[in-house]
Amino acid sequence: MTTDHLDIETLSAFADGELNAVLAHRVERHVAGCAECRGDLDGVRGLVASAAALARDVAPPPEVWENIRARKPSAESREPRWWHNGWLAAAAAVVLVAGTATMMLLARPSGVAKGAKLAKHQAATTPVVLAAVERNYAPTLDVLRETLDAQREQLAPSTVRTLEHSLAVIDSAIAEASAALVADPGSADLLNLLSSSYQRKVEFMKRATSLPSSL
């Protein structure tokens, strides 16, 4: 029988499995031979179980609801629904950035001297590249467009107008990038811009098609 007992903090840490192997082994050995500490350990475990079993719900006093109603916020002070001010604004910003980037790239001289043979080769292959990029995204965009058209009636007319306007701007950015690539077939920047514009269109339409389930 021992007279040196373990403190509750140590037993609590032991109950949670926080002690290292050496300390945990010492506690196990001590508890096995000390009825008082074994009782304390049982007490810790019982307390933890009791806390976890406390009632999840406690009814608030009736006046709480009346006070909440009296403090009901006005429509103006409520935060607008997130899709009205969040991602549409973000998408518009992306579109603007993409359009601006296109214009900047168009205004920038390529700065790379090309041999006549290389230029001729690139001019010949550009339509093939453009078609390949479009083919890459077309199936996904077609499915998204069908889904969006099917969901159109579930959206507010103003939301539909905003969506269509944003899509038109993205399409315009794609058209600009395509035209620029035809004019400057060797530009990797323009090719990247074209791909990223398509990718943005896909992401935008994915988010648009998830709108009705969020409503």
Partner: protein, 194 residues
């Protein structure tokens, strides 16, 4: 231990629909949400603050804030989880404000005590020996704990949060959270054994 994300019965899509309607100004939908979730909010506020009166005020604040913020609920998680997080954050933010006021009003008290260092101070004094002596059940004993120890105990042992989550919420080190938890359990056992 149940996850804090699963502590409230949540009708999923139904809750989301109610939230959408409430965000559009449907007061009946908001009232239904209140009927479903206010007991959970009040219980959390009561245990974290240690006071029914303060819990009533906190619950009002939470639901007014919730009414204002419902429009930003995206439905990516259960509404009950969203409300739970909003409640915990509001109670902790309120406690920090109370602590700042407490420190401002009593500059002569010198450096903060362990229980009032940061984050979880409440209006009532920490442990009053008399209230501890009078504690007759676990709820009362929890309410009588020092604020920091009570916050950690409620979040960990009642609500099922992990120490790393509590450390982030309260702005303290994980080791400090563990120490507060073991201290709280010790105090509770002492009270409940009397």
């Amino acid at each position: 231990m149940a996850s804090p994300l699963a502590l409230v019965a949540d009708d999923g899509n139904d809750d989301r629909e109610l939230a959408r309607r409430a965000a559009s100004g449907d007061e009946r939908a908001f009232e239904t949400l209140y009927e479903r979730h206010s007991g959970r909010v009040f219980a959390l506020c009561m245990r974290m603050s240690g006071s029914r009166q303060q819990a009533a005020e906190l619950t009002q604040d939470v639901w007014v804030k919730l009414w204002q913020k419902l429009g930003s609920f995206r439905g990516e998680s259960a509404l009950s989880s969203w409300i739970h997080r909003l409640t915990v954050n509001h109670v902790l933010t309120n406690a920090r404000g109370e602590q700042r006021r407490h420190m401002h009003e009593r500059p002569e008290s010198g450096s903060p005590t362990d229980d009032h260092e940061r984050g979880v101070a409440v209006r009532e004094p920490s442990v009053s020996p008399k209230s501890v002596e009078d504690a007759i059940d676990l709820e009362n004993a929890i309410a009588a704990l020092p604020p920091r120890a009570r916050t950690v105990f409620v979040l960990h042992d009642v609500e099922g949060y992990q120490h790393d989550e509590i450390a982030k919420l309260t702005g303290t080190a994980e080791g400090t959270c563990r120490a507060q938890l073991h201290r709280a359990r010790k105090l509770l056992m002492e009270v409940l054994e009397r």
